[in-house]
C-alpha cells in the first residue's frame, strides 16, 4: 500500500550575516585561510562566540585531503552537527537545505554555511583533470578545455534548437557587468559593452571570452538559525520560503537543454505560495550565460526556448524591470570555486536586509536563488533553487 508522507515545509528558518571574503585572482594562501576568515567574519558579524556555532557545512574544491572534519580542528570549532558539501555551484542551495532541517529539528541552533576556495596559478588546470572519473576518462582527454568545451556544445545546441544568438547571451553578460560596477568586491571594474562582448576572442566556439567566468580565490558564508534567535541577536535576516534540489535530471536528453529546475519548480513556488511574477530579484547560477537563460525558462519566468526573447524584452540591471545577478554574478565578480555556489545566496540576503548599498533593488521582497553544479561529464548534474523572503 502506498504510503505518501507530505514533505514538511521550511518554516522557521532564517538566514543572516552574509559574508564575503574579498576575492583575489590568485592567492598564495590555502583554502583553510579563506574558510578561517569567513568563519571569523560570521563570528564578528553575529556577536556570537565561536563555541555557539554548533553546526557547520563546508564546501570547497581546494581543501583536499581535508574535509569539513579537518576544518573543525583547524579552526577550533566543536559543532554537534557537520556536513561536507563539495557540490560546487549547487553547494549554496544544498547547504541551506540541510542546515534548515538541522535547525528545524533542533540538531543544531546556529549553522555556519561556508564555501571557500583558494586559487593558485596552476590550480584550475589541476582541478580539471581530476574532477571526476567520467571527466578523466571521457572529456578531459578531448582537448582539455574543461567546462568550456562542454558548455560550447550546450550553447551551440541551444542556439540551433531555439534560435538564440550570441547577442542574447551578451545582454546577460553586459547587464551583469553594469551591476558589478556597483559591487566593490567584483574583480571586474571596467564597463562592458555589447560590442566588446561580441568582439571578444573565441575560447571554444561559440563560447568567447566574456562567456567564461574567471577562476579566483575567495569565500562566501552565512548563518542559518531560527528567526527568533536572529531577532534576539538583533541580526537582520531573511526567511527561507521554499527550496528544491534535483540531481541527474533528464539524463536521456542527448545534450542538456533543460535543468532539474523544470522538474521541481512547481513544488518550489507552492512551498512559498508565490508565483514567478512575485519574485523581485533573481540570482541565477551563471557559469555561462546559456545556463542563466535556461534558469529563466526552467524556473518559470518564460517558456522553454523563449529565453532569448525574454532577455531582449527585459532590463536585467538592478535598476531594471528584471534585476538578475545583482552583485554582478560570477561572470563579473569572478568564480571563487565553490563560493560561486554561494554568491547568489549572500547577495540575496544583503538585498532583502538593506545591506546592498547602491545596488539595492527598490522595494524587493522576494528573491530566488538558483544553484547548478558539477559537470562530471557532459552536463551539470546538480540543480537547486530557493526562495528567500523579507522577514517582516
Amino acid at each position: 500500500m502506498a504510503h505518501i508522507q507530505k514533505r514538511r515545509g521550511y518554516e522557521g528558518v532564517a538566514l543572516t550575516v552574509p559574508v564575503t571574503v574579498p576575492y583575489e585572482r590568485y592567492s598564495i594562501r590555502g583554502a583553510h585561510w579563506f574558510l578561517g576568515q569567513a568563519v571569523r567574519a560570521l563570528v564578528q558579524g553575529s556577536g556570537l562566540g565561536k563555541d555557539q556555532i554548533d553546526g557547520l557545512t563546508v564546501s570547497s574544491f581546494s581543501l583536499a585531503p581535508d574535509t569539513a572534519v579537518g576544518v573543525t580542528q583547524h579552526l577550533g570549532l566543536s559543532p554537534r552537527w557537520l556536513d561536507h558539501i563539495p557540490t560546487g555551484g549547487a553547494s549554496g542551495v544544498m547547504a541551506l537545505r540541510r542546515a534548515a532541517r538541522a535547525v528545524q529539528c533542533g540538531d543544531a541552533e546556529v549553522v555556519a554555511c561556508v564555501a571557500a576556495d583558494t586559487n593558485h596559478v596552476d590550480s584550475f588546470r589541476q582541478t580539471l583533470g581530476s574532477f571526476s572519473d567520467f571527466a578523466r576518462d571521457a572529456s578531459y582527454p578531448y582537448g582539455s578545455g574543461g567546462p568550456n568545451s562542454m558548455f560550447a556544445f550546450i550553447t551551440a545546441n541551444y542556439m540551433r534548437t531555439y534560435g538564440a544568438r550570441r547577442e542574447d547571451f551578451g545582454r546577460i553578460a553586459v547587464a551583469q557587468r553594469a551591476n558589478a560596477l556597483k559591487n566593490p568586491n567584483a574583480l571586474f571594474k571596467r564597463p562592458l559593452s555589447l560590442d566588446e562582448y561580441m568582439a571578444a576572442r573565441p575560447i571554444s566556439e561559440p563560447i568567447h571570452l566574456f562567456d567564461c567566468v574567471m577562476p579566483c580565490a575567495g569565500a562566501e558564508a552565512f548563518l542559518v538559525m531560527s528567526p527568533e534567535r536572529a531577532r534576539d541577536l538583533g541580526l537582520p535576516h531573511v526567511l527561507l520560503r521554499g527550496a528544491i534540489e534535483r540531481h541527474n535530471a533528464f539524463a536521456d536528453d542527448p545534450v542538456m537543454v533543460r535543468g532539474g529546475w523544470a522538474m521541481d519548480q512547481g513544488d518550489l513556488y507552492a512551498q512559498a505560495d508565490l508565483q514567478p511574477q512575485d519574485i523581485d530579484l533573481l540570482q541565477t547560477y551563471d557559469d555561462y550565460p546559456v545556463i542563466a537563460m535556461m534558469q529563466f525558462e526552467d524556473l518559470g519566468f518564460c517558456a522553454k526556448g523563449e529565453g532569448s526573447a525574454f532577455v531582449r524584452a527585459h532590463d536585467l540591471t538592478v535598476a531594471g524591470d528584471f534585476p538578475q545577478n545583482t552583485s554582478g554574478g560570477q561572470l563579473s565578480c569572478g568564480q571563487a570555486g565553490a563560493a560561486g555556489g554561494f554568491i547568489g545566496m549572500t547577495e540575496t540576503i544583503r538585498q532583502l536586509t538593506g545591506q546592498a548599498g547602491e545596488r539595492s533593488v527598490a522595494g524587493a521582497r522576494h528573491g530566488l536563488v538558483g544553484g547548478f553544479g558539477m559537470v562530471t561529464y557532459d552536463r551539470c548534474l546538480c540543480t537547486g533553487a530557493v526562495i528567500l523572503g523579507k522577514s517582516e
Binding site: G129, G143, G145, S204, E205
Partner: protein
Amino acid sequence: MTAPFMKPPRKNPVLRTRQMNLPPGARGRVALGLTAAAAEGRFALQVCADCGALQYPPREACHRCLSPRLPWQAQTGEGELLAATTLAHSNDLFFRERLPWRLGMVRLDAGASVMVHLHGEVGEAPCRVRVGARLDRAGQAVLIGYPEKGTAHMADDTMLREMTSDPKHRKVLVTDGKSPVGQAVARAMAQAGADIVWVGHAEPWKQLPGLAELAALPQVTLVPLDVTDERSVNERAGEIGGKVDIVVNTAELHRGFGIAARRGTDVAKSEMEVNYFGLLRLAQAFGPALKGRAADGATHATAWVNLLSVYALANFPAHGTFSASKAAALSLAQCLRAEMRGAGIRVVNVFPGPIDDEWNQNLPPPKLAPAALASAIVKALRDGVEDVYPGDVAQEWLARWRDNPKVLERELAAGGM
C-alpha cells in the same frame, strides 16, 4: 576534403627540436577496456548483459538496471553529430601546441552521447557521423568522429595524423633485409611513401638473393647492421639514429625443434642472440634518439615495430626454442612499450602465424606470405594499431588463447597446430 599531406620542407638544424608533451593519459581501470580494444583497431563499448543498455562513459554498474555484468561489445559507431566546437584555448600543453582543435558531441544510434575528436571533413551539426576508437599519443583510446563518407586523403587529416604513424614522407629503418619478410617490409615502406628506407644486412660481403634488386629502389639504402654485435648496432645508431622515424625490427633467427631433438644450447643461444638480445641492443641504441624526436615536426619519430610470433603467446613444441625466444622478446617489447610511452612513440607488436618461408616448410597451409605480413605492418602504422595478429592462423590462435590458454597449451602439447 582533406588536402594530401605534402613533404614538409627540410628542417632548420639551428632551431630547437620541439619536445613531446603527451595528451592526458590518466584513465580508470574500467575505461582501459576501450584502450584494450582500440589497441587492436576495434571500437567496443560496454553493453549491459542483463538489460542491453549501452554504457558511456565506462562504468562499474549499469545506469539502467544496476547490473555489474557489462561486457565490451563491438560498435558500428553510427550516430549523429549534435554539436561541434573548435577549441581556441586549452589547459593542456599537447592541445595548446596544436590549436585550433575540433571537438564534437555525438549521439550514437545505439544510445549514448560521446565526446569525440572531430575529423576535418565532418560538416556542421547536425549531420551523420561514424565514431571509431584510436590510440592517441599517450597510448590511450580516444573516440574520433569521422565523416560518413570520407575522401581520398582523409587519413592526412591533421588530428588523425596525431593518432597514427603513417610511413608517408618518413624515414624507416628495416633492421634486417636478408629475409623475405625484411625485403617485403622494405618494399612496402617504399610503396607507402617513405622518404628513406634503410635496410640492414649483417654480412655486407655476401651477395644475398633479392638484396641487389631491393637496393635499386630509389628510397632504399643498404646499411651494415648486425643485431648480435653491440658495436655494429651502436655505429649504425650513431650514423642514422637521429634521423629514423620508424624502426621495424625484422631481424629473426628461426630454427625448428624443441629440447630433446638437439644436444647443447648453441642453437637456442643463437635464437636468443637475435630475437631477444638483438631487440635489446637495438632498443638501447635507437630508443633514446627516437624519443628525442617524438614531436619533431610533421614527420616526427613515431613508431617501433617488433616482428614477434604468435608462438610468443603459447609454446609451439615443434618450434620450442624459437617460441621461447619470441616469448622473451614479447616480454621485452612490453617493457619497451612502457618506456617509449612517455615520449608518445608507439610500439607495435606483430604476431604472425607461420610465415611461408624455408623454416616453416613442413607446416601445412595456410601460411602467411611475406608481402601480406608487410602490408599488415603498414596498415597497423596507418591505423595506429598496437597489437597485430595477421593471417588466419594467428587470428585462430589468438581466439583460442583468449578463450582458454590452458586448453591451447594442451592442444599444442598433443601435437596440434
